[in-house]
């Protein structure tokens, strides 16, 4: 590409080392690794206090979930992470897996909710931490997907009313910040339903995220649809398929394959956006942090370390997923 002189290696390295040194010094060399408040206070300003994580990890990971029952969200998290990891492997990319994934997710939700087989019922307002982040983002995406496909098809429909409605919906939702939609879920939805319907805040928020994500996913899928050569559709009609069959069996599968990397990227976006639900008082990962440290005068000074730890968790998920999406961009072996 654009050539630059190669003589400044030493200078560059020195600069980077100079910038990195205080970080290493603070984060590793002078850090306190045990939940020892005195040691942490003594090291303040010199080294990080990673002990705060050891002290508060249960609340950071699971929020207000009853302490004795926290093996349940742990197991639920493990199931979801397992499903996510499996979904990134090409050999699991088939309709059968979608069924397994749906069942797994349902199992995770049931495990969290309890109320059967001797498991005590835990109301959703006590859910929190990593499992909540995963449930909201994954649940939101899965619900958004069918809606997004319909919206994308509608936006390309030849029926003007259908096209107009889809376009209006997509552009309206994409034009406003997620936070205003979440406020709507928190404050307006209850007003918009009959007085004796009282849906819980969690499903309201998940549906809102799904509606929000659907508008973005629809555009991604529309891009995928546009990438399918029109000849395919015509050919499918010519061999006697109906319009819906042609769409279902010929165009959509190709379009989704084209859109797959972008879909994963959208999921990463939703995963990050799920942190916003802490603003409407659902204590997912970011919200659990303020429960863990906000009410504790002793440990409150070590917010930065806790922030960095949470950031690392988000980063691991997003980075792994974005790597997976990059792999999806590689051409598949000629089997499917």
């Amino acid at each position: 590409m654009i050539r630059m002189p190669r003589k400044r290696t030493l200078l560059w390295s020195l600069l980077v080392a100079l910038l990195l040194w205080p970080v290493i010094n603070w984060g590793l060399l002078h850090a306190v690794w045990t939940p020892d408040l005195e040691a942490c206070r003594a090291a303040r300003g010199l080294g990080a206090c990673w002990g705060v994580i050891a002290e508060k990890h249960r609340v950071l990971f699971f929020g207000r979930y009853p302490y004795a029952e926290q093996w349940r969200p742990l197991l639920a998290t493990a199931i979801i992470v397992g499903l996510l990891a499996a979904a990134c492997r090409p050999r699991f990319r088939n309709p059968g897996f979608a069924g397994v994934a749906g069942l797994g997710l349902l199992l995770a939700v049931l495990l969290m909710a309890g109320g059967f087989a001797g498991l005590s019922a835990v109301p959703t307002k006590l859910w929190g931490g990593l499992p909540l982040t995963l449930l909201v983002s994954l649940g939101g995406t899965l619900l958004a997907f069918p809606l997004a496909v319909l919206l994308a098809l509608a936006r390309r429909s030849s029926l003007p009313m259908l096209r107009l409605s889809a376009t209006l919906y997509i552009e309206l939702v994409r034009g406003v910040p997620l936070i205003s939609l979440l406020f709507m879920a928190a404050f307006l939805f209850p007003l918009m339903l009959p007085p004796d319907w009282r849906p819980d805040i969690l499903p309201r928020v998940i549906l809102t995220i799904a509606g929000f994500a659907a508008a973005y996913l629809a555009e991604v899928i529309r891009g995928g649809l546009q990438a399918v050569p029109p000849g395919q559709y015509v050919a499918a009609l010519a061999i006697g398929l109906t319009r819906w069959q042609a769409m279902r069996h010929v165009v959509l599968p190709q379009a989704l394959r084209h859109a797959l990397p972008a879909l994963v990227n959208s999921f990463i976006g939703i995963f990050k956006d799920s942190s916003l639900i802490s603003i409407v008082s659902l204590h997912e990962l970011t919200g659990a942090l303020s429960i863990a440290l906000g009410g504790d005068a002793d440990w409150r000074s070590f917010y930065l370390e806790a922030y960095l730890f949470i950031a690392l968790i988000y980063w691991c998920f997003c980075f792994a997923l974005s790597r997976a999406s990059r792999q999806l961009e590689q051409p598949r072996p000629a089997s499917g």
């Binding site: 654009i2 259908l162 309206l172 205003s180 404050f187 209850p190 918009m192 990463i268 980063w315």
Partner: protein, 325 residues
């Protein structure tokens, strides 16, 4: 059967229209029913009532005695006050990082790649909270202010710059000085503003960097080789060949990124910067008019989005024309 065919086209549309209308009517009906049942007043008349609350920082004069619509206006101005500088700064920073990722030298390339891979995989809200915590907890108090540059002061209370101002008819430069509780004189930028500005700038910059990189990489190898062959120097190649061609690929996604940035500025509510969402939220609590306040927020953002889209399209047309000429 032309009639049957027409019916096939019309009927689904009519059904859809009716369904959407019915749903909206149902929602509207429930809202009215609920409001009446609970004795809540509705309507936009409250906008002319006195706001009753102060706003920490504003571009123009505002106090608690002014009507609520002025408070909303102040909030919108605060949104733009942070979003516009963030757009400019993130474009500059993003272009630099994008170019850095294409640098031939491994060290700057690694630095830029690390920066991009780190920042874009962490939620903006978390970056914002971290940034705010760092600013308010780690900076010194006014009595021990740092002076990063002559004439400027950096404290927990924010960044203070020398500013041109008029007081009681006398105009002139005033310099910040530590005094009493804080710093007086000059222009001040609150830590809330700085946190939002910094977090928005860096977060958007890494996305812009990827757009810039993609744009430059979309310029075909042949074009560059040809330019070099006719004896242009690397900078000239960038300036006269790569940039104009890359711009065409860059501008549309860049416009999207600007839209995202403006929408993302709504996260400022989490650190207490009084932008539109924060003001609307306060009004919502003080007046109980949830529906009206949320509608106002959405309307303003939609208007801003449309305006941005319009400007980007205009610019895009300009660039596209020049590129094909």
């Amino acid at each position: 059967m032309p009639f049957r065919k027409q019916l096939l086209r019309l009927l689904p549309q009519a059904v859809l229209l009716l369904a959407v209308l019915a749903l909206l009517l149902w929602f509207g009906h429930n809202v009215l029913e609920n409001l009446r049942g609970r004795g809540i007043r509705a309507g936009f008349d409250f906008l002319s009532d006195p706001a009753g609350f102060e706003i920490g920082e504003s571009l123009f004069a505002y106090d608690s005695g002014q009507p609520l619509w002025r408070a909303f206006l102040t909030g919108t101005a605060n949104t733009l006050r942070v979003a516009l500088p963030a757009i400019v700064l993130s474009t500059i920073l993003g272009s630099l990082i994008g170019l850095g990722r294409l640098a031939s030298h491994a060290v700057p390339r690694a630095v830029c790649t690390t920066l991009v891979e780190t920042l874009r995989n962490i939620p903006l809200l978390l970056q914002l909270l971290m940034c705010y915590f760092a600013l308010t907890s780690l900076l010194p108090e006014a009595s021990a202010a740092i002076s990063p540059m002559p004439g400027t002061l950096l404290t927990k209370g924010g960044l203070f710059l020398p500013g041109w101002g008029c007081e009681e008819g006398a105009c002139g430069w005033s310099f910040p000085e530590a005094e009493g509780f804080g710093v007086s004189g000059g222009w001040s930028l609150s830590p809330e503003f700085l946190a939002v500005l910094i977090a928005l700038t860096f977060y958007s910059a890494v996305f812009i960097a990827e757009i810039v990189r993609g744009g430059i990489q979309s310029v075909s190898r042949g074009q560059i080789d040809a330019a070099r062959a006719i004896g242009l120097r690397p900078f000239q190649v960038l300036r006269h060949v790569v940039a104009p061609l890359a711009l065409r690929a860059i501008v549309p996604p860049l416009g999207n990124q600007y839209l995202n940035l403006i929408k993302n500025s709504s996260l400022a509510v989490a650190v207490g910067y009084p932008e539109l969402v924060s003001v609307a939220n306060t009004s919502l609590n003080q007046t109980g008019r949830a529906f009206e306040c949320i509608v106002i927020v959405m309307a303003v953002y939609l208007a801003l989005s449309l305006l941005t889209a319009l400007l980007v399209n205009l610019y895009n047309r300009l660039v596209a024309l020049r590129g094909t000429a």
